[in-house]
Amino acid sequence: MDGVPRNGVGVAADLAADVRARLGTVVVVPPEVVESILVALLAGGHVLIEGIPGTGKTLLARALARILGLSLHRIQFTNDLMPSDIVGSSVWRPGAERFDFIPGPIFSEMVLADEINRTSPRTLSCLLEAMEAGTVSVEGTPHRLPEPFFVMATRNPIEFHGTFPVPEAALDRFLARVTVGYTTPEQEIQLYLGDDPKRALEGLDAALTRDALLEHRTAAQQVAVSTPVATYAYQVAAATRHDESVALGASPRAAMSWLRAARARAYLHARDYVLPDDLQALAQPVLAHRVFQTGGGDASELIARIVESTPVEL
């Protein structure tokens, strides 16, 4: 019942299934999480993963990097991490009598930023700037980050000792926020019985190339958004602004990011037009971390309530 696939659209659907299948051999992650991550990747955004340790976030990132054929660097954020530890620094070469720039771990197609709430705001802002601009300035010299540049950041919402609050503006930089929790008992048991994840990881090979990924990215943004869909996006965004319990509703930028993500999702589902269903499926990952309630706390329930009550006009 999906629309007639345009060139490339159908390929993407197969690709998504392929990626999912390959990931499944290594790590057990709910399909909607995989989808959100793929959506963020295709929409040119970044993703924030929340969850308790030991649920395979790092493994997920590694597996994804292998499948997508991207280089991966992992940065463990600690409170003594300096900006130069991320972006790199210039080193004096006595022989050559000059400074050489040694790129930091951020110069990678995929960056796993672990526990970003453990670092100081200064270091964090350095990462955010890189995410926003796609370039890094060191001592006045801009250095382009590779294309694609995809950040998967994790945040541990349980521990608060020795953490810094992540500023609201920073959350806005992430296209999607997903929560990884425990899997079902069967899946977990299956995990125990399966191969050693490390070995399985070694056995993974790339499903596509970097160039193919970039092409998919471009194609995903060609997906059509009709007026009724844009109107629906506006209505939901406006409803978050008018809700009494909300201190700061979804901004126009949030709504636009939402539509961008919806395009990517439609592309993944082999459609060349966005449905309200795409928006609904992405409401939680894209909007929940951009809406702030007066008393603090998670806006997921609020978003769910608004999505449930906002009529989808035929």
Binding site: D2, A224, V225, S226, P228, A230, S309, P311
Partner: protein, 641 residues
Amino acid sequence: MTRPLRFAMVALVLVNLGFVHITEAARLLWMLPLIGLTVASPWLVRFGRHLAYRSFWNLGVMGAFALLVHHFTSRGSAYLLEDGLLLAALCQVHLLNNAGARQKPDLLFFNSFLIAVVTSFLSLDVAYSLMFALYVPVLVVALQLLALHRAGVAAEPGLAVRVVRQGLLRGAVVLGVTLAAFALMPRDFRRKGVLAGSWTLKPPGGMEVGFNPTIDFRRKGRVTSSDRVVMRIRRVSGNPADVPSYWRGAALVHFDGQQWRPGGRHDARSSELWRRRSRAEMRRLAGRVDAEVEVTIADRRSTSLFAPLRASRLRAPSVYAVRGYPDATLRATLPGQYKSYRVAIANRVRPFGRSGPARPVGRLRTLLDVGPGLPRAGRDLADRLAAGLEPGASQHRLVETMRAHLFQNYRYLPPGSDDGAHDLRDFFGGKPAGHCEIFATALTLMLRRAGVPARVVTGYCSTEWDDEQTVLTVRARHAHAWVEALDPKARWYTVDATPAADEGAMTAGAGWIERARAWAAGLWSRVVGFNSSTQAKVGAWLGALPGRVLRALRASPLTTALGLAALVALLVVARRARRRGIPAATRRYRAALRRFGVALRPGETPRMLLARLQLADSQRTVLEAVTAEHEQGRYASARVR
């Protein structure tokens, strides 16, 4: 107070000021500060917490009240309504500028209605209809916003817009119901007020704009020309040509050199009108009536009623106590209420009474009395003109010669102009120009000098017919003075020596704006002069409407087909308007939902509905197909990318 409510109240007060303005109770110059204060009130009201600000307003209103009391004591009660209206308007502005926590806006609403009511006494102008049509929706919207305010809910912009839109719609409904009730509700159109008899206002003395029952050359000062409607004359039967332009208010006989006064009883026998007539004569006259008109007078201040020279019969509601005078003028004993009466005009009736030679000169002494008023130059001119005629020339020829001389050799200037003559000495001396009163006086005295009985008549001269020539509008600036001469057969006739006397009236009907205005005025005059016969006509027309439509439809196959086509077209247009912008696929999807008896819940998409429903396979296939079609039609056609 919420902003929308405040703006609605500003609009209400502006409409009120519009009401006041159309009565000409105050010059525009006086209204401008009130308008300014009204518009500035949303800004000014913040000072309401300062005692000085409130005191300023209270003192201002008290001062205005004192001025009005002074006006009342010095000028009499004739301007009472106008003055009251001004005070009410000032109070409106005061209330608006002090409306806050302590000052409830209730009074403002009632006062606004009062202003509308009082204005209805003072103005018959078509502008009233516009103000009323404006007032209704503004009042309804303002009441709605007040209700919201009272209910303690904040009208956020979106809600305010909705409220205003609803208010406008409701205003239209109220207006429609009002007009229907006005047209159809049975009532006594000639009802005499219980207290009407005891509520009399004296006409003011002194100078006034427009019609004067006397002429006094000692009066000096600026006279403004006003467009105020003083009278509407609606033709009930007869040709427009049979309705004269000259409407007489007072006939003046005695002139003492400065002032004209009405005649006494002694010229009673010279009158043709308002005399007791025998039944036989009445019957004879009834057959000769050329036209019948209904006159509605808005000029409250005058006790004079107006009728043309050839009026043959007057029908007035007895309540007005209209009296006919021997000089063929009418007086009401009750000013202060506009009057409505019918006049029959018989232009071709032979002079009433005995026909024959002119009466002995002695009997007409007053009408031939030149008195000290005509200066030497005038006497010489009259003698010279009379002598210039061949012997035995008719009286009409003499009259025409003198009229033509003045008409051609003297210039008309509006009253009060510095270049114009202020009395006859100037007129025949160095300033051969003046206004109508000068011309009328000069011609009357010259005619008398030549032995023709003559008198000065004041009243209105208007040719401002509407497009259908049904309603003749008479405005204050149409006030005029002219001459009546008595011919040898004891029949009075009208002579007007003033050049371009009806210049203003002739301009009517020029452009389409004027025509539209005249049309609206004609329509409005039907509302103002609504009476039992009009009501019967409206009722009969409405009653016959369905029958007429049916008859027209059945008249021929063509009309039947046309009617059906129009009906179908109407249905199609209504349907299309309802479905504008919705693709056919979506309509089919809706139809399928209706067929399956299911509905989308809020927040549910067609796909979620599919997942929710427990359907038979065949039904599911159908619904899946229409869902896919709907999605394709609705969402695949990109407007925004």
